[in-house]
């Protein structure tokens, strides 16, 4: 099991798995090649790098930098044709019942939208997703089956 921390991007080949813990408004993005059984996962925290007030940041932090970074390594290093790549996404919840306090508004849904836009701009189909709602998720991607397992405290386990 390879652990993908906040704002990180990690890759795995069969039979390894990629796991990220406690996704709230963050989005876990997996881009994979099912025949080669190779996958990359990013733990995206924010929709767009233009929001950053710092000059350096991890590429996995923002949707608009994470998706291109995932694609670059999948196509260049793992030699996967871009037209054969697929994506699965999870997360983007709203943990607090009121978003009045958060000046950034509904950050979860903005993250999901930004990730979807990035993927569609690169013509990567989103094969499955479990996003939104108001609960935290731990997700694990199995390169062997290309299944994404989602675990939530009050909802149990789901596989997409």
């Amino acid at each position: 099991m390879i652990h993908v921390g906040l704002s990180e991007i990690k890759f795995a080949e069969c039979p390894e798995t990629l796991k990220t813990l406690g996704l709230g408004s963050c989005v876990g993005v997996v881009i994979y090649h099912d025949q080669k059984q190779v996958a990359g996962m990013a733990h995206v925290m924010l929709p767009d790098s233009s929001l950053a007030r710092t000059t350096t940041y991890p590429l996995g932090k923002y949707a608009d930098t994470a998706v291109p970074a995932l694609l670059k390594k999948m196509t260049e290093y793992y030699d996967c044709p871009i037209s054969q790549l697929k994506a699965k996404i999870a997360g983007g919840a709203e943990m607090f019942k009121t978003t009045k306090l958060l000046s950034m508004g509904s950050i979860g849904s903005r993250n999901v939208e930004a990730v979807r836009n990035q993927l569609s701009a690169h013509h990567i189909p989103v094969v499955a997703e479990e996003t939104g709602a108001d609960y935290g998720r731990t997700v694990e991607f199995l390169t062997e089956t290309c299944n994404l397992t989602i675990h939530a405290i009050f909802k149990g386990k789901r596989i997409i």
Binding site: H3, G5, L6, S7, E8, L21, G22, L23, G24, S25, C26, M45, L46, L51, A52, R53, T54, Y57, K61, A93, E94, M95, F96, K97, T98, L101, L102, S103, M104, I107, G108, Y135, G136, R137, T138, I153, F154
Partner: protein, 204 residues
């Protein structure tokens, strides 16, 4: 604008000292509320990367409340307890209630965080001689990582680190400790007030 990583021992000591004064006030308010002696102290104040803060116990099942701080100082205040510890706290205030009780349990937990945050802030406000206000708490029960990462999202635009203030509550009657995590997260531009005081510059 200052960066959290520029905070040195004197700055952290100042925060810890003001925190301990705040904690003493908070403990007496809590003692009145619960009608029994409660002690509270701040054993440590430190700066750590947000990623480590969140990945550490990301799946831990917690109850948390979140308060926005404004005025002469902008930041966020988090109070977080493991669910069993939170239930013990709530039970003291509202017997038979718990964290999932959306009416009484939630309200009791939020009230405790209001008191703790308010006491801490009033100590800090008189230390730094600045006005501070606090928003009503918002509340969530879920995985610690999921709750924290959403709360820290705005702050993470400015800094990859956060200021962490741990507090320990002690129930003298039961003789038991209640370990809570209290995160006070100032915005980087708000740190100037702390720097000025720690460096002996009183710009009043």
């Amino acid at each position: 604008m200052h960066n959290l990583n520029e905070l040195r021992t004197p700055h952290l000591d100042l925060l810890k000292e003001s925190g301990n004064i705040g904690a003493a006030h908070a403990a007496s308010s809590l003692s009145v509320l619960l009608n029994k002696p409660i002690d509270m102290r701040i054993p440590s104040v430190h700066v750590m990367p947000i990623a480590d803060l969140i990945d550490n116990d990301a799946e831990k099942h917690v109850a948390a409340s979140y308060i926005q701080v404004d005025g002469g100082f902008r930041g966020f205040f988090f109070m977080m307890f493991a669910v069993d510890q939170a239930n013990m706290l709530i039970e003291e205030l509202v017997p038979g209630s718990n964290v999932l009780d959306d009416a009484m349990g939630k309200s009791a937990f939020c009230e405790i965080s209001n008191i703790l945050c308010g006491s801490y802030l009033s100590a800090l406000a008189s230390f730094l001689n600045i006005p501070l206000t606090q928003s009503p708490p918002v509340y969530a029960v879920d995985m610690a990582g999921a709750i924290l990462s959403e709360g820290l999202v705005e702050l993470s635009l400015y800094d990859e680190s956060a200021l962490l203030i741990d507090a320990v509550l002690f129930d003298r009657q039961r003789g038991s400790r209640l370990n809570g995590e209290f995160l006070f997260l100032p915005f980087p531009d708000s740190l100037d007030a702390i720097f000025d005081i720690a460096e002996g510059k009183y710009s009043k």
